[in-house]
Symmetry: C2
Subunit: 411 residues, 2 copies
Amino acid sequence: MNAETIGVGTELLLGQIADTNAQHISAALAEIGMDVHRHTAVGDNLGRMTLAISEALTRCDALIITGGLGPTPDDITREGVAAAMGLELRRDPELETLIRRIFKDRDRPMPDSNLRQADLPGGARAIAPVGTAPGFMVDGPRGVIFALPGVPWEMKAMLEKVVLPELTVRSGAAAIVSRQILVLGLGESLTHEKIADLVDAQTNPTIAYLAGKGQVRVRVTAKAGSRTSAEALIDPVEEAIRARLGPAAVPGDHTGLTMTLAALLLARNASVAAAESLTGGLIGVELTRAPGASDFFRGSLVCYSDEAKREVAGVPQSILDRFGAVSEQTAGALAEGAAYRLGAGLGVAATGVAGPAGQEGQPVGTVFVGACWGGRTMAHRVFTYGDRDNIRALAVTAALDLGRRMIEGTA
Amino acid sequence: MNAETIGVGTELLLGQIADTNAQHISAALAEIGMDVHRHTAVGDNLGRMTLAISEALTRCDALIITGGLGPTPDDITREGVAAAMGLELRRDPELETLIRRIFKDRDRPMPDSNLRQADLPGGARAIAPVGTAPGFMVDGPRGVIFALPGVPWEMKAMLEKVVLPELTVRSGAAAIVSRQILVLGLGESLTHEKIADLVDAQTNPTIAYLAGKGQVRVRVTAKAGSRTSAEALIDPVEEAIRARLGPAAVPGDHTGLTMTLAALLLARNASVAAAESLTGGLIGVELTRAPGASDFFRGSLVCYSDEAKREVAGVPQSILDRFGAVSEQTAGALAEGAAYRLGAGLGVAATGVAGPAGQEGQPVGTVFVGACWGGRTMAHRVFTYGDRDNIRALAVTAALDLGRRMIEGTA
């Protein structure tokens, strides 16, 4: 079985938001063993939306549409699905009752336009609203269509509660499992040279490269009848790849460097603190992305000014005067200050010039990271490139990776 | 003229990354007055990629493809474009020389596979590499195709340098301008009720609603012969909308609350500092997203533990004991601590429970924000909902908005 997604909303086509719903849905479908073959995004335009839906219906077994289910006149996904399937819209009496009750419970007057949300293509079954917008599902000549709200948390809740269980039943229980090996310090083509014969020899698992943000990731993806069988297919291939790449391959599944670091800390009953300048808080955000961060993360001192580096992170004025805020010495002192002031075993730090203009005579992209662990402090310059976002992301990766290597004793 | 984008890469269809390239390209095309009618994403599969390219070529005047231009065997966009247009691939001698030189300059051996990057569909013109992957452009029977690397900073550089100038020339100089009004505290449907007649009466500018992350944004979009004319069309419509929505409409163009806040601070020669718990650094990241933040941002104290709140942000132990870390009182004390310790006129803070589990008997989603300015401190509970990401984003918005209102004297 294969699936497609269609994101609906002119805000997508104007570039005001990215279609992160397609990403989330695809990752969830991969977990239950469904291939996704295409993502499409269209605007709030009935003709173009209807065409995209009609085309997708000829290709896929499951079509998941997000967006355009609100109460306002530009919300026309109901109409688009009905038109693509040659169905009429009918008001669903249970949904109407439900929508009226939601407003009554909140003690708010219900605008009449909200009743449009109770209109469904003939034969569709309603999916109860999580926020205020109901979704629906309807069987087409070949596959099933799900229409979900565009607001990410409402979409996610309906996906978990209705779509994934329904598709799991329909698809049988195959699994696609994907594992990523993070490679630091080798380019994409040198990585490829080292493992090209493995790539060519493989069909299941497949091996692919993902470049970006100063990293190359090698993705190994297996399909099998179960998650366990897929993992067993991946294991020997991963081992062979790591043997070729040597120390450039970061240990662990790169669902994140963060998870690797967290596991090292938790195993030692230790915690991490950060001090950061150009990254503006991104090290803290990265470390707290997943729940449970309070078990290993103390905090981060975001010190954008020299005064803050001195007063908050305790960087000696003499270091700032002699070497400047963007220096190996300041990076080391920031790491020490973070560990000391926040009472953490590991301190990590990043300082540098994110651009677009240089600073203190240092060019854009100059970054130093530091870390301290077990009485030692290390710091080094990082090779960065690209725009402001890329430079900041590279600095985060480099700081966390230095911390990891200091704990492992490989720095 | 209208455009479409195609993102190439199995990592998109596995949900490992979002197609942010489509977002960036669309925003840039809107600025030069080109409508984008569709985004598509396909995997590293020659048949399905070729089909998507062929279909797009029948509909659009400009097709921008990103990804699949690397040196490895899964990079097959060159082949896909050639197949869709019925062209052969030919090795470009100038590109070959350039690629050989890049490796020679870096003193690295060139894997032979890299020469695939010098292969272009017949009649295509090369776009010089910014990183290591060249792009190309080629004229089709109806429109022009641009193929750009998938790495965002390489794509952005080629877009600015080659694609936008080329399309500006081809399209004539029309402009689409979009302005957003941020609405806090009203739902989408109540917002609509207040301005429904304006929405129905408008064709240029158009008015649309964007819901998500605890905000409703009303987007007003005008097309005209120039940016100035488009702005002039928007002005009276925006004024009418604001008159209807009253204080729920946040002043200023919501390119960001951050920019509004920054302007208020700069006009007063003041700066802001933050102390944050559940947001993990996101307030700092939001304030430093754009260049120039050092003019108004001092830093942020990310205090994930009670000890950090006490030692780093100076929250009195008595407040933590009596009211807990997740309380109005702690939010206020965090804001004061940030302003005092970082020497800023405005302090803002957020504390709460991002989930997935409750904490100190407080349910997931409980958030308090605080701010201090001009000798006053205020704090309040925020109504949040949704998942961890949504709750954290709402907390950032609420903290910055409280700071804004305190400076304006409307809190």
